[in-house]
């Protein structure tokens, strides 16, 4: 019972802050709301017996990635260029239709699922989420994926450097 109460609190926090992220106009406030959402999701990861993923979520996501966001928001300034009226406003109803359709589809898929024990209390788990288990899986079963992530990060770093160089060259080195 206790776990379900924790889940309800974390889920409420995640959904409320997600609504804030997609409705508030100020990017700074949206980024802070995203931090709250990410921390709530870290609590959900803890409930799912994944302490290592929860730790990485706090350190890398709520720490590094959102700080990068806040840095860029501070760099661009507090006053974004004023946008005129949305020329595509009449198409927003299509977005809502897509969301409602997908929501109904997901609800039906979940309600008609025949996965055993999907609505019941979960099974006991062995040691699957500790740093030891994750590290063993990374260097044995998923070693190719592990090397591929390093390649992805390298390509992203090179891409960021090239983008910055182009921007500086575009302003003739100012």
């Amino acid at each position: 019972m206790g776990e379900r109460i924790f889940f309800a609190i974390a889920a409420f926090g995640a959904i409320a802050s997600a609504v804030t992220v997609i409705t508030v106009r100020n990017p700074f406030r949206a980024a802070v709301a995203l931090i709250v959402a990410l921390l709530s999701i870290a609590v959900v990861f803890l409930l799912q017996r994944a302490p290592f993923v929860a730790m990485i979520q706090v350190i890398v996501y709520a720490g590094a990635i959102v700080v990068l966001f806040l840095f860029v928001i501070a760099y661009l300034g507090d006053h974004p260029p004023t946008l005129g009226p949305d020329p595509l406003a009449r198409y927003q109803v299509l977005a809502w239709l897509a969301i409602i359709g997908l929501g109904i589809e997901g609800f039906l898929a979940l309600a008609n699922s025949h996965l055993p024990g999907i609505d019941a209390n979960p099974y006991e788990v062995s040691d699957i989420g500790s740093p030891t288990a994750i590290g063993n899986a990374f260097i044995s079963t998923f070693s190719v994926a592990f090397e591929a992530t390093s390649l992805v990060l390298l390509v992203a770093a090179i891409g960021a450097v090239l983008l910055a160089r182009r921007a500086v060259l575009g302003e003739r080195g100012r």
């Binding site: 609504v19 990017p27 994944a50 990485i56």
Partner: protein
């Protein structure tokens, strides 16, 4: 390694369907943000929400099948998200330095 339900003892906890429902709701909220926002910074924040909702489902299935695979997948998703944020923010800064409007609807032409 085939996923097997090793233990058949249940504990009082949160059922898998609750996690999947939370994941779906967060995904739809993020998708709504991506479809309706115009500021590219807010767009990227909404994409982060979508990636995180997928992680909830992955880790939930990892707990359901009692294997680490889903958690490994979630960690790889986080790496991809970090790379995506770096490139996305680099593009936003490049657009800003060219003194163009920060509006994804206005940035509709590709030209080298």
């Amino acid at each position: 390694m085939t996923p097997t339900l090793i233990s058949h003892h249940t504990t009082t906890g949160v059922p898998l369907s609750w996690y999947l429902a939370l994941s779906g709701v967060l995904f739809l909220l993020g998708l709504l943000g991506v479809l309706t926002r115009r500021n590219p910074l807010l767009l990227l924040l909404a994409v982060e929400l979508m990636l995180n909702s997928a992680n909830i489902a992955l880790v939930g299935f990892s707990r359901y099948w009692n294997v680490s695979d889903g958690q490994i997948f979630a960690l790889v998703v986080m790496v991809v998200a970090a790379a995506e944020v770096v490139i996305g923010l680099g593009l936003i800064v490049a657009v800003y330095r060219q003194r163009l409007a920060l509006d994804v609807d206005a940035l509709s032409r590709l030209k080298g």
